[in-house]
């Protein structure tokens, strides 16, 4: 059994390394052919020989950050609601609902957004088609909401019950207990929820593809149509499989890979540091 687990570990690690090597290998021709600078240009016009992926990078960042800005406060609020700001009988159903949300396929969110949210934006604001950064950010925030809630909740679940009796007996109000004692003690959960939420938002393909409009431009405005790295890869792969266009995709892949890897490394480091400070196991 132990040997099997060891093989499995080595195998998984190897796959990640191979993936990294593969992405780097295919990105290399771009360096060799001196097209690297072009990669970071502002324009994606493959028929004019311009392969700038900066619009996609900025689109990805804009979308992930705005989705996080919407989902994080909402998730934190729901966690506080569940842990004592709301009525006790509503806590369990709320968490069950959130758990249920994790099982909904992404395409459902995308579909609902295309038929409900996009027309709503189009009809109420006279800016473009409705397929926009805003529409994608709203939809994506729903997608990453359970990740954020469950991560914060999993730590509050350990902290709050131990503290509640103590703080109640001391005459400390519920809101003070949560904001001044429990949340600071849950700093690892709070940070990891933000980081993982961001990671999920960066990695999601379908919602951006369906709702964001896919125009390869630097977003300046919430109603601008944007294209993310993930959606870009999906779109180009579906239509092209050669030339520099194709190679530029590996650069996109590499960036995504490095982003996810950094997210995980960051998480690991934070856990390590938080544990050292708070004597946790």
């Amino acid at each position: 059994m132990e040997a099997f687990l060891q093989y499995a570990t080595v195998f998984s690690a190897l796959i990640v390394l191979i993936l990294f090597g593969f992405l780097t290998y295919f990105t290399l021709p771009l360096f060799a052919e001196g097209q690297f600078a072009e990669l970071f240009s502002l324009h994606w016009r493959p028929f004019h020989g311009e392969f700038g992926i900066l619009p996609m990078i900025s689109g990805t960042l804009a979308l992930a950050i705005s989705a996080l800005l919407i989902a994080y406060p909402l998730g934190l609020g729901i966690c506080l609601f569940v842990h004592g700001l709301g009525p006790r009988w509503l806590a369990r159903p709320t968490l069950l609902l959130v758990h249920g949300m994790t099982g909904i396929p992404t395409v459902v969110y995308g579909f609902v957004a295309v038929f409900l949210l996009v027309p709503l934006l189009r009809n109420n604001f006279s800016h473009g088609s409705g397929f926009s950064l805003l529409a994608a950010a709203l939809t994506l925030s729903i997608l990453i909401l359970p990740t954020i809630i469950l991560l914060i909740n999993s730590q509050l679940e350990h902290i709050v019950p131990k503290l509640r009796l103590t703080t109640t007996a001391l005459g400390i109000s519920r809101i003070h207990e949560l904001t001044r004692i429990s949340l600071p003690a849950a700093s690892y959960g709070l940070l990891s929820a933000a980081i993982l939420g961001f990671g999920r938002a960066v990695g999601d393909t379908l919602i951006a593809l369906m709702v964001a409009g896919n125009a390869a431009q630097i977003p300046e405005f919430a109603f601008d149509s944007i294209r993310t790295l993930t959606a870009h890869i999906a779109l180009v792969v579906a239509t092209d499989s050669q030339s520099t266009t194709y190679h530029s995709l590996f650069a996109c892949g590499l960036i995504l890979f490095l982003t996810t890897a950094s997210v995980n490394l960051l998480l690991h480091r934070i856990k390590h540091r938080t544990c050292r400070e708070t004597d946790c196991e």
Binding site: I159, L165, T166, A169, L170, G171, H176, I181, A185
Partner: protein, 258 residues
């Protein structure tokens, strides 16, 4: 029966107190007038309602699910007898005035200083200078100051069990309570640490009205000014000092009761 002891003025008057959880009766028909005669120690077999009685006095039973109860409890707070269920008395203010220390030390997951500082700030809103003064005062009061004065910023979880319990006591004292409720405060401590806490409680008895649950007759005899014997959710006896000074007498009395 309705035991009364009028050596000094009464500090606690209870009429027809009853408590149940999920329909199961834990306390019934408790009628009691307690007077200030040193530390009151509650004894009784487990399940006799000692802890529930204690929690009635700071309304902490209401924190548990399935609670239902009634009756009237008056406590001497800030000079006069007050109905603890009176709507004018905020429950958080009641709990500040009726401090509680639990069986196992329950330090907050913050530094030693913050364990006292934070509740003080949140409950009383005192400014920083006043809080610092109070911190030193209460740590000295529980004889912890010399042990922790150089490590106030350290995580409180690093203290020993006995130190943690004294820190919990200091945290409650910092809020200037009138009544102290102690639920088997030495149950999780070793012999030496228990003795320290006991000596401390004897020192504090003139400044605070102390009510403690104890599982040890030795401890009860050592610290008690009066002993309240509970059985099956009711008050069985209120023993005065002369009735339990002799250990054999106390032993025999308790054997008769149980």
């Amino acid at each position: 029966m309705e035991p009364t002891l009028m050596r000094h003025k009464p500090f606690c008057d209870i009429k027809n107190l009853h408590v149940s959880f999920h329909g199961r009766t834990v306390l019934q028909k408790v009628n009691l007038t307690l007077s200030d005669s040193g530390i009151l120690v509650l004894v009784g077999s487990s399940g006799s309602g000692k802890t529930t009685f204690l929690r009635s006095l700071n309304r902490l039973n209401e924190h548990y699910s399935g609670y239902s109860g009634g009756g009237k409890i008056e406590l001497k707070l800030s000079g006069s007898m007050q109905d603890i269920h009176c709507p004018d008395l905020e429950v958080t203010e009641l709990r500040r005035q009726v401090g509680m220390v639990f069986q196992t030390p329950n330090v907050l997951p913050v530094s030693i200083a913050q364990n006292i500082n934070l509740p003080l700030k949140l409950v009383t809103g005192l400014d920083k200078a006043e809080r610092e003064g109070r911190l030193i005062e209460v740590l000295q009061e529980v004889h912890l100051w010399d042990e922790v004065k150089d490590r106030l910023k350290e995580n409180s979880a690093r203290l020993s069990g006995g130190q943690q319990q004294r820190l919990c006591l200091a945290r409650v004292l910092a809020l200037k309570p009138k009544v102290l409720l102690l639920d088997e405060p030495t149950a999780s401590l070793d012999f030496k640490a228990s003795h320290k806490i006991e000596d401390l409680l004897i020192e504090l008895q003139d400044r605070y009205q102390i009510i403690a649950v104890s599982h040890s007759l030795r401890q009860a005899r050592k610290i008690a000014g009066q002993i309240l014997v509970m059985k099956e959710g009711q008050i069985e006896h209120l023993l005065k000092k002369d009735q339990f000074e002799n250990p054999e007498m106390l032993q025999k009395l308790l054997e008769d009761i149980f």
